[in-house]
């Protein structure tokens, strides 16, 4: 990093809270402020006020501000973006409306599909056609575009998206259309070949529409934020965290705001990756559980797993296919409707179900006694003894065990003939099992075995469930770092200046064209590095990945390629690499079918200084509990007397034998009977299965 940036600030605007973290030469100050939807920048300024005061510095001493926000995501979910015109290829006006032509839920005859981001009357087709190989089949109708510009000017449009068929292969028509419209219109124009140059028109068109749709709002917000920060006395640069987990300049963010979608959760994954590196854990699954959802991310060699497409704004029980696809590089996470506020209920088969309905923070779980009457996961955790009713959220909210118990009996226990304790156990088992299943399937999708990983758990509810989740997944080690409540904002401070550029070019390996490949990758390298240079000054490292498959398959697997020029003799090397990777994913390679490239990705980032490394402390000196209470132990199916420990009172090398609970201001860590807990030098809690060496 540059000099003068040893005081850095991370700001994460989430749905409920805005988290501010100040890193003063290694000491962390943090603040949680309620998110202000009318003026999101205000919450940041308020938070900065708090942490600078706590740290005893002035705002002008801050060397760098790194910001991530859900505002772009929220604008998409709540449909509060600008009125946007989509200019598209004639014959394809309805691509974003027809979607995949299927129903994401087979048996619901009253299914409602999500409305397209841009309604049909605002989608304007023009003649002009490029084919799959990038050749022009029909010239662009420039006269029609001139006329169209005038029609658009007469209406109250705030942004323009351009998406033409096969533009990832040849962007000339999109670029020309932009030139023509720019001459007549003073509106921001986004083109799909720049925003998301990937094959598959539904995803690409939807992505360029989303970009255009949130662009005016994000531009205005970011400019206000910069102004207010200056007024406050800051002089430092501001960078944005993007969905792929790297940093980009505010100028880039203004042009490609869709890249900010899901940037908050990305911070959480970087936070976990940083902990993984500190303890040299090369295979990790991060587990973040908050009030409404749980998120799981795979981290290998200290890098969170990325994907090239994801879905936001799911409208139907987090159901795959019920949202809108965004194809940009993203830290890949699976999200399920399982949080502390998720409601438990019983279906017609007498099965306990949890979520996706959530009590949120208002009215909250029944035990909050704020009007919520349905049993939530937090109620079950309370009844099982996992949470201390008198010390929840630092004692800010006093919980009622009676209310929790009564709601669980009414909605679950009485229906199934279970006492409140058994019913609460049932609720927790079902939610833990759902999370375990999601994690297991996600690992399989990525050719990995979940039990080979260590877990890193953060977020308010995760430490309550992590040990049981590890039992179910066969995971032996789990870390619960400090600062877990503001993990994303801390993660921002660890993010590299990095950018991933992606492009599609379908090419059979048998017709391997080294020159074409070099040209393609050269373009992507240039594009990725120019973003990095806009912020970083360190040496740039690159990662090249080809997404390949057997011709005829529909799913591509990532194959790492060396970062150098290719020549004709590399064909064999690439084939071998593909076959090995395929076997890793699916057991064995297939003989016969042709192998092909579909998409390429170049990830560039500045090299970061290695943080300090620590060895895991596995053995420790047993410490006795000063107090104890009954906590339900799932492995035994019964309550057991469990030691209570204050996290603040523990020091490095202390070993606690489960069953036990380690309490802190924001949450509690449950140590189930198959696990021990060992405190690490940095205060991280290691849960380690009894009899397993760390």
């Amino acid at each position: 990093m540059r000099s003068g940036q040893d005081i850095r600030l991370g700001a994460d605007i989430g749905g409920t809270f805005t988290d501010i973290v100040l890193d003063l030469r290694g000491t962390i100050f943090s603040a949680k402020v309620l998110t202000n939807y009318a003026a999101p920048e205000q919450a940041i300024l308020d938070g900065i006020g708090i942490v600078t005061q706590d740290a005893g510095i002035s705002a002008s001493e801050i060397g760098l501000v790194i910001h991530g926000t859900t505002l772009a995501t929220n604008a998409l979910i709540q449909r509060q973006g600008a009125r946007t015109a989509l200019i598209t290829t004639e014959g394809f006006r309805d691509v974003i409306e027809m979607r995949t032509e299927n129903r994401f839920e087979q048996y619901d005859l009253n299914l409602v599909l999500p409305k397209p981001l841009i309604p049909r009357e605002d989608r304007f087709p023009v003649k002009g056609r490029i084919n799959a190989q990038g050749k022009e089949l029909q010239p662009l109708d420039e006269a029609a575009l001139e006329e169209l510009a005038e029609r658009i000017a007469e209406q109250d449009f705030g942004a323009i998206a351009i998406g033409f068929i096969h533009s990832y292969a040849n962007a000339a028509h999109e670029q020309r259309a932009r030139e023509i419209l720019q001459r007549k219109l003073d509106l921001p124009i986004s083109i799909s070949s720049e925003v998301s140059p990937q094959m598959r028109e539904f995803e690409r068109f939807n992505t360029v529409c989303a970009n255009a749709y949130v662009r005016p709002q994000m531009a205005s917000y970011l400019s206000r934020l910069q102004d207010r920060l200056k007024e406050m006395g800051t002089t430092c640069p501001v960078f944005m965290i993007h969905s792929g987990g790297g940093l980009i300049s505010v100028e880039t963010a203004v042009e490609f705001p869709v890249r900010l979608v899901e940037s908050g959760p990305a911070g959480g994954a970087i936070f976990a990756a940083d902990i993984a590196r500190r303890f040299s854990l090369d295979r990790v699954v991060s587990y973040d559980m908050g009030g409404t959802t749980a998120k799981i991310c795979l981290i290998q060699d200290y890098q969170p797993q990325t994907a090239r497409t994801f879905e936001v704004a799911r409208t139907y029980r987090f159901c795959k296919g019920s949202g809108m696809p965004i194809s940009i590089p993203v830290i890949e996470m699976i999200e399920i409707g399982a949080g502390g506020g998720s409601i438990a209920w019983v279906d017609d088969m007498g099965r306990i179900q949890t979520g996706p309905e959530s009590a949120g923070s208002e009215p909250g779980p029944a035990c909050y006694q704020r009007g919520g009457t349905k049993p939530a996961i937090t109620d079950a955790d309370l009844v099982l003894g996992k949470i201390d009713a008198d010390n929840f959220a630092g004692g800010k909210i006093r919980l009622s065990g009676d209310s929790a118990s009564a709601s669980i009996s009414r909605d679950i226990g009485d229906r199934l003939g279970l006492d409140p304790m058994a019913a609460a156990f049932g609720i927790c088992e079902v939610v833990d099992e759902n999370m375990a299943n999601a994690a297991r399937v996600h690992a399989v999708e990525n050719g990995r075995n979940i039990s080979d990983n260590a877990m890193i758990a953060f977020g308010g509810a995760a430490p309550l469930h992590a040990a049981r989740l590890c039992e179910k997944l066969g995971i032996d080690r789990c870390l619960i770092p400090q600062g877990a409540g503001v993990g994303s904002a801390i993660g921002f401070l660890k993010a590299p200046f990095g950018y991933e550029a992606v492009g599609s070019q379908v090419m059979a390996l048998s017709r391997f064209d080294a020159e074409a490949l070099n040209a393609m990758l050269g373009g992507l390298k240039e594009s990725a590095e120019s973003f990095v240079r806009s912020g970083g000054t360190g040496q740039i490292t690159r990662e090249i990945v080809a997404f390949m498959r057997y011709a005829g398959q529909g799913w591509e697997i990532p194959v790492s390629l060396p970062d150098r020029e290719f020549n004709a003799s590399d064909r064999e090397m690439i084939e071998t690499a593909f076959r090995e990777r395929y076997a890793q994913f699916f057991g064995r390679p297939v003989d016969g079918p042709e192998i092909e490239f579909v998409t390429f990705s170049v990830k560039a980032q500045d090299s970061r200084p290695e943080g300090r490394r620590e060895a895991l402390i596995a053995d420790g000196r047993p410490v006795p509990a000063s107090a104890s209470r009954d906590i339900f132990d799932p492995a035994n199916g019964a309550s057991r007397d469990s030691g209570i420990f204050e996290r603040d009172g523990l020091s490095a090398g202390d070993r606690i034998s489960g069953p036990a609970v380690i309490v802190e201001r924001e949450t509690s860590t449950i140590v189930t009977s198959p696990f021990d807990a060992v405190i690490q030098a940095d205060g991280t809690i290691l849960l380690v299965r009894k009899g397993v060496a760390a």
Partner: protein, 539 residues
């Protein structure tokens, strides 16, 4: 059962469903067949040692739902228990024992634990080719439709039957892809088996007996409650479809009893000379699907939920007997839900949606260079959907598959697979049947050979002479149309030619409307006009 055992059973039931999801996912990720990987035309499930289905992946398409459930019983009947070994995988594509046509390969693998047979994993997928005349209606009997694989061993004790592979290799057009899919199917059953054994190890159970009884008894109770809430009696319905050369009548009688819903197809047209006949196993799959959507949409698929429905039919187009040609059994099979729903609409007035496009408009294109020209040859398969019928409180979904669960493919991907250009694929205005709730719109598709090429295509289209009917005063959707851009009318079924320089023009049917059009709200009408769903022009 103790309280804790009750919870453990519930958790294991969830886990079992996750096991079959993993099984299905493995198949999707490795399959070569377009219909599996892009469209989700597959199924995967786990069965107990007696062949009763315990759980099924929700990923599957309804056509495979209880075809597979029955198919496993056929395997058990064919292969003696003392000839089943760990590492075995059995296979068939027999339309009457499997899922209704030769293109679907069903594989069943026994699951052994400590030497004891504890259950089976089964999966089904549609492969690219099975030889014969290809995917189309032109075969005069099943013998012309491709290679028939009786129930037999694909692998014994882990050793693949290489004789079968050699026979396959010389009988199908795309041997690499087809054989690749055989391996994918076998591999996905292996994944299921491994996960099941892991699960049993973890929870300390020896087999699936206790869990099976738990699943079946819970499901049975829930199904009985649902059926008890239905009106009792018999209701009939009839529906005309295009057929191949003559229209086909589908007739149904739905009888709701105290503990069962029975569906009988007496009175339906006889067996067709063309490959649009349906084996009863496939008819049953779609009839059950329709009833389940109405009666028990939230109850998982297993033997106990399917046992509440029974199906019968004399020999006719919905109960075709060997050696009738059945390659395109989906075209008529996909019409079964609409005819069954029509009968249910009489039992449950005001609660059932109008008729929709029904059958997918699948098109198989065989493209080649013009005589004497240089170019590419390719086989291209596309799935497209017309409009769904309007619902009692909602407009029909436009260009959305029903009853099938498949997805369409991106046209950018399709154009990479062969020398064709898709010039148009968008909603078809004025095609949704008018009503208080409008039917879903169909779509318009224009496909041309790339310059210097021509193509033949296999048409598999319906609802051209008999459009989807409205319900409760709603009007019918627009019928479909097939033509060249010079106005030449083409047939709805069979192989036909598109010469170089011409475009194939497809108009997919819209769904029927629901309720009196006069009661449609002014806001909805204004929106229809603003969005161009309704233009007011005469078609």
């Amino acid at each position: 059962m103790s309280q804790i055992d009750e919870i453990r059973m519930q958790v294991m039931w969830n886990r079992l469903i996750s096991v079959v999801e993993e099984q299905a996912l493995t198949l999707i990720r490795t399959a070569f067949s377009t219909s599996v990987r892009e469209a989700g035309d597959l199924s995967a499930g786990v069965f107990d040692a007696r062949g009763r289905m315990l759980a099924q992946a929700v990923t599957g398409t309804p056509g495979h739902v209880n075809t597979m459930a029955e198919a496993v019983l056929n395997f058990i009947a064919e292969i003696p228990r003392d000839q089943m070994y760990p590492g075995d995988t059995y296979v068939t594509n027999d339309p009457w024992l499997g899922t209704g046509h030769l293109h679907d390969i069903t594989m069943v693998s026994p699951s052994f634990r400590d030497g004891a047979l504890i259950g089976f994993f089964a999966c089904t997928a549609h492969v690219v080719d099975v030889g014969g005349r290809g995917f189309g209606a032109d075969g005069k009997s099943v013998y012309e439709e491709g290679i028939q694989i009786p129930i037999m061993k694909f692998a014994e004790r882990g050793e693949v039957n290489t004789d079968l592979l050699r026979i396959l290799r010389s009988n199908v057009r795309e041997p690499n892809q087809v054989i690749g899919d055989f391996y994918s199917l076998a591999a996905c059953n292996d994944v299921g088996h491994q996960r099941l054994v892991q699960m049993l190890d973890e929870v300390g159970l020896a087999d699936l007996k206790t869990l099976g009884e738990f699943i079946f008894s819970r499901t049975h109770t829930a199904m009985m409650e649902r059926i008890a809430a239905l009106p009792k009696g018999s209701w009939v319905n009839e529906m005309l479809t295009d057929g191949y050369d003559d229209p086909i009548n589908l007739a149904v009688e739905v009888t709701i009893g105290d503990d069962n819903v029975h569906v009988d197809f007496s009175g339906s047209s006889g067996i067709s000379r063309w490959g649009i006949n349906v084996p009863l196993i496939y008819t049953k799959a779609y009839a059950c699907y329709a009833i389940k959507c109405v009666v028990a949409p939230d109850i998982p698929n297993n033997s106990a939920s399917l046992a509440a429905f029974s199906i019968s039919s004399p020999v006719n187009i919905l109960n075709a007997q060997r050696p009738a040609p059945v390659s395109l059994r989906h075209v008529i099979g996909h019409m079964v839900p609409d005819v069954v729903l029509g009968a249910l609409a009489k039992a449950l007035p005001g609660k059932i949606q109008a008729e929709g496009a029904g059958a997918l408009w699948n098109i198989h294109i065989s493209a080649r260079p013009e005589a004497g020209a240089e170019g590419r040859r390719a086989e291209v398969l596309l799935f497209n959907s017309g409009g769904m019928g309007a619902r009692p409180t909602l407009d029909g979904l436009s260009a959305t598959a029903f009853p099938s669960g498949v997805m369409t493919m991106p046209i950018e991907a399709t154009e990479h697979t062969g020398p064709i250009v898709i010039w148009r694929k968008e909603l078809r205005p004025d095609s949704g049947g008018a009503g208080q709730y409008r039917g879903g719109l169909g779509q318009v598709i224009e496909i041309a050979p790339e310059e210097g090429h021509e193509f033949d295509f296999s048409a598999m289209f319906d609802r051209i002479s008999a459009p989807p009917r409205g319900r409760d005063g709603g009007e019918p959707g627009a019928p479909g149309g097939v033509a060249l851009d010079d106005g030449t009318r083409l047939r709805p079924k069979g192989w036909q030619h598109v010469p170089a320089g011409r475009r194939l023009m497809l108009e997919l049917p819209g769904g029927g409307g629901f309720g009196d059009p006069g009661r449609r709200s002014p806001e909805a009408m204004a929106e229809d006009v603003r969005k161009g769903y309704v233009t007011g022009k005469q078609p």
